[in-house]
């Protein structure tokens, strides 16, 4: 850098930028241990009560009003988490298969509609969530389909297929088709070539796409909000509802656990990537 003062200012700006990104998360984590039940922004000593309440271990002798709230919301919380995991698992499998198949078709075959498909596959990703959400809502209700986990799964698959497609497509662009041609020349069938030659090379892209799909599905709020039935609430929708009803200290505890989970998932992703580079 030609200008040391300029670099110093830039460094300062950048560090403030990262502080801006992380300060809010630090606030939640810090205050999830705050004992003050009235104003949770005023520090009143360390406590694990909110976590205990979350897992249904709230002190039975405590204020009866607050206890009722904990016990009820614990069951709902666990049900919502279970729903989220089911939706994310099924969605990830379906959209990974659909997205990967499309990426292979577009990269390895020449046909007239190729340009159309390339644009078409990007559309669900670029469509605002709210438009897709209400479109699906009208569609399901007009067909007379009951809103349930199935409708959420269908909704998630529409846009997550696009995400998987993008990631796998980026990977396939860097793979030399010569290996597959050699395999075909040596008499392997299309299926064997696909399974033994192309898919192993594609694996990192597929895993990356699946991981992304899982994370986005777990976090999706807007589309799920419109097409979730009353008994099929997912975790983000449940938390959104809690926040709308008023800010309570347990939300801090849930939020902290979610932040922790996201750090673990991101670290897992990083580790998977570094392992691939080593190979």
């Amino acid at each position: 850098m030609r200008n040391p003062l300029g670099w110093l200012l830039l460094t300062l700006f950048s560090l403030l930028f990262f502080a801006f990104i992380y300060a809010p998360l630090a606030v939640i984590i810090g205050y999830s241990f705050n004992a003050n039940p009235i104003n949770m922004m005023i520090w009143d000593g360390f406590t694990l009560d909110w976590y205990r309440g979350l897992f249904g271990f709230a002190d039975r002798t405590a204020d009866p009003n607050s206890r009722a709230l904990y016990v009820e919301s614990t069951d709902q919380l666990i049900a919502a988490l279970k729903n989220s995991l089911i939706v994310a698992a099924v969605t990830t499998s379906v959209s990974t298969v659909l997205g990967t198949a499309t990426a292979i078709a577009l990269a390895r075959y020449r046909f007239r509609l190729r340009g159309f498909y390339r644009g078409f596959l990007l559309l669900p990703m670029m469509m605002p969530d709210i438009v897709l959400g209400i479109g699906l809502l009208i569609f399901f209700v007009t067909l007379g389909m009951k809103l349930s986990l199935l409708t959420i799964i269908i909704g998630h698959c529409t846009f997550l297929t696009s995400y998987v497609f993008i990631i796998v497509q980026a990977r396939i662009a860097g793979i030399d088709p010569a290996l597959e041609e050699a395999s075909a020349d040596l008499g392997a069938s299309e299926w064997v070539t696909l399974r033994k030659v192309l898919l192993p090379q594609l694996a990192p892209g597929i895993v990356g796409g699946a991981l992304l799909a899982f994370v986005i599905s777990m976090d999706d709020l807007v589309i799920t909000y419109f097409i979730a039935g009353t008994d099929s609430t997912t975790l983000p929708v449940f938390i959104f509802g809690m926040i709308r009803r008023g800010v309570k200290p347990e939300i801090n505890a849930i939020a902290t656990l979610l932040i922790l989970a996201s750090v673990l998932i991101a670290a897992l992703g990083l580790w998977l990537r570094s392992r691939k580079i080593d190979k």
């Binding site: 939640i28 198949a101 909704g155 996201s262």
Partner: protein, 292 residues
């Protein structure tokens, strides 16, 4: 014979996705279009009869009996566009210098800071918004701190204002702006910058004539990716915005979940969808040739 087998495999690869997206993506979008021209029923349902006053209510022709023209809808739509534009601009101003800084760091630190910027992408959107609710509340952290230092005499009213909405949107959109920008900045040809200086160009000239054109695809890409979800956003204004922070997305949500006027909600979301399609067609088609 090989050609026929090729076609079979191709059909096997593409049929499932075509059917799935055709039925569950294209048909729902068409349903919105159809519903936006249907008659709203008296008690929340729809009547299958053509009705153009859903749009009339928004744009200024209305029958004056069942539907009344309300300029408020156009105003809210305009507000959504301007909030989204300001969000894009602020994200750009914040991310551009930082992208530069990260690209100049030694390899090790580069990876650390790139990881730090993608981490919020993995953490829950609603949790990150909730944090700002805690910070901006009248009795929240920001006010407690400012009151504590004595910088202000009374709590600031930030929560439930447009400022809070834009702040929240900038906060959740930063990673989407940063990554395309970083990709562009990192690919800068540095020898061109050196050459520009050697030939006597000032810093500003170098930036305008050398750096900006080279990073333009990243700037446009990031802006489009941030603008589109911002226009239709309803979660951020719902959590952080009050009546003055209401956006088009909130209007749509109200029509579907509380007012139960689906045709009118469909008409509103047709407007959001057309804004998005215009932006996409304008910018993405122009960038295409450069990609190859």
């Amino acid at each position: 014979m090989a050609r026929r087998r090729d076609r079979l495999v191709l059909a096997a690869l593409l049929t499932p996705v075509t059917l799935f997206l055709g039925v569950f993506f294209l048909v729902p979008l068409l349903t919105i279009a159809v519903f936006s021209f249907l008659t709203p029923g008296l008690y929340g349902g729809v009547e299958w009869a053509f009705y153009h006053w859903n749009y009339g209510r928004i744009f200024g022709w209305a029958d004056g009996i069942m539907e009344v023209f309300e300029p408020v809808y156009l105003r809210i739509l305009g507000r959504s566009l301007s909030f989204a534009a300001v969000t894009v601009l602020l994200c750009l101003i914040l991310c551009y210098p930082v992208a530069f800084w990260v690209s100049r760091l030694p390899e090790r630190w580069r990876l650390v800071f790139l990881f730090l910027i993608t981490l919020p992408f993995f953490s829950s959107l609603i949790v990150r918004l909730y944090a700002w609710l805690l910070i901006l509340k009248p009795s929240g952290l920001l006010n407690e701190m400012l009151l504590g230092i004595g910088l202000i005499g009374a709590p600031l009213e930030i929560l439930y204002t447009p400022t809070a909405v834009v702040l929240g949107m900038v906060y959740v959109m930063i990673p989407f702006m940063f990554l395309p920008l970083f990709a562009a900045v990192d690919n800068l040809d540095r020898s061109l910058i050196e050459a520009s200086y050697d030939l006597g160009a000032t810093r500003f000239q170098t930036f305008r004539k050398v750096i900006l054109p080279q990073t333009l695809p990243g700037i446009v890409g990031g802006s489009v990716i941030v603008f589109i979800p911002s226009v239709g956003n309803f979660i951020v204004p719902d959590v952080l915005g009050g009546a003055k922070g209401l956006m088009a997305g909130n209007l749509v949500e109200q029509q579907f979940l509380s007012a139960r006027n689906w045709p009118f909600g469909a008409a509103l979301s047709m407007l959001i969808m057309s804004v998005v399609l215009i932006v996409l067609v304008t910018f993405v088609t122009r960038l295409r040739p450069k990609e190859g």
